[in-house]
Amino acid sequence: MESAILDQLRSDKILELLKQGKRLDGRSLDEQRPLTIETGVIPKANGSARIKLGNTEVITGVKVQPDKPFPDLGDKGILICTAEILPLADPYVEPGPPTEGVIELARVVDRGIRETEMIDLHQLVLIEDKSVVGIFIDSSVIDSAGNLFDACSYASVAAVLSSTIPKYEIKDEAPVLVEGITSKPPVKTLPVSVTMARIGDYIIVDPSKEEEICMDARITITTNSAGNICALQKGGSDGFSVEQLIKCSEMALSVGTKIRKKFEQLM
């Protein structure tokens, strides 16, 4: 455990470097850490990905199974995204019920994929109002080094893109798996989440753990392939000016374009 004094010294250093347009790890302000994506890492899952964003590492698995639709959404398949920080990922994470930070993480990742309408849920209906296909996207953070929002989001998107949807037939009003036939998931657009931190008057992309400790506020913006803004979440204990929020939306789009190219290679 590092002392509060070191945290303070590091924060001072980070701010001092930002004034010169630099960051502690040598990146420019709008530069993400290197992202590597590996898919198909869990063969028992219908889709999976293991990604590294700098030293942050996430494994996501997709499970597809028939389910009952939500009562008011009988014409849509089910989409559920979760995220968890495993106790082995961080010395400060303990087993037990999720903290509000983890609940926020999962809900922000879910919102990005849901609100961009990445997956055409209408194509996952077996019998309207009775039986649909559910897509469950579960992310586990296995090494935590900052910006878990984007890491979980990228892993989730990559896992979906690598997934195959089994075929189900209806027999006696119940879904039955048809062996040997699968299809690609009905993907309509590629969501890219970009998280930025404000430290003083500076906006930086993809904050590291050290930068997160001294950030004033955080914002996650998810854009779709058409260049629209589809989901957003402000976090942290301070705010943004309107100019900063507009700048963040522009950064989310420009940084997002690069990440989207990586996703396109997976398709």
Partner: protein, 241 residues
């Protein structure tokens, strides 16, 4: 099957009769609870929300206390009878997330460093919910904090904007939230000029994003006047006390 309501007529009148730039009716009453250090009750359209504030006071459990600063805790809770189908009274994941964003929206307005080792507790109870409840809850909570006499840099005023029937509208109601195209709740500190809460569900172009943000901020400013009036009424005009 779902019946689609018509969300807007051709001449731009919304399903509840409002224009695109019109807020729902808002009324705020300050100091409605006896035991709380500060409290407020807000009616924001059909939303009926109570906010109570305690503190600065001793922190329990003690290990949560911070030697260097006071801490803020926030609980947003919906009564089981507040929505059409009974809501399980246990806090849902949605309520836990909203509690967190409300806390982070209020925190910039407070000077917690002045109260080390203490906690300020903000409890919000949504008695009836009608779309935009997190904004209404925040409006009530900010007034309750002021009513508790807690030093603040500014009030926090919240209001949502969104996209309904391809138009940017102010203050999204429940039907518009369910069936509209986008919902963007925003909170500002009106005098400091900072956005302290912002979320978005739904698809907006970059132009719409800017318009939506400005529209929401305009709504926040109107709400701010109503919050101020409510505080003035309690502290400077209550002749019947």
């Amino acid at each position: 099957m779902k019946i689609m309501t018509q969300l807007m007529t051709e001449d731009g009148i919304r399903c509840d009769g409002r224009r695109v730039d019109q807020l729902r009716n808002i009324s705020i009453k300050v100091g409605v609870l006896k035991n709380a250090d500060g409290s407020a009750y807000i009616e924001f359209g059909k939303n009926k929300i109570l906010a109570g504030v305690f503190g600065p006071r001793d922190v329990h459990p003690k290990h949560m206390a911070n030697q260097d600063t006071g801490i803020l805790r926030c609980r947003y809770h919906m009564s089981p009878f507040s929505v059409t189908e009974r809501k399980n009274p246990a806090p849902s994941r949605r309520e836990i997330e909203i509690s967190k964003v409300l806390k982070e929206a209020l925190q910039p307005a407070l000077i917690l460093k002045d109260f080390p080792r203490t906690v300020i507790d903000v409890f919000v109870e949504v008695l009836q919910a009608d779309g935009g409840s997190r904004c209404a809850a925040l409006d009530a909570a900010a007034v309750a904090l002021a009513d508790a006499g807690i030093p603040m840099r500014d009030l926090v005023s919240a209001c949502a904007a969104g996209k309904v029937a391809d138009r940017i509208v102010l203050d999204v109601n429940n039907e518009e939230d369910q069936e509209g195209q986008a919902d963007m709740p925003v909170a500002i500190m009106p005098n400091v000029g900072k956005v302290t809460l912002m979320q978005l569900d739904g698809i907006l172009t970059t132009e719409e994003y800017k318009t939506c943000l400005q529209t929401a901020i305009g709504g926040c400013r109107t709400v701010y006047e109503i919050q101020r009036k409510a505080l003035v009424e309690k502290y400077f005009e209550s002749g019947d006390k």
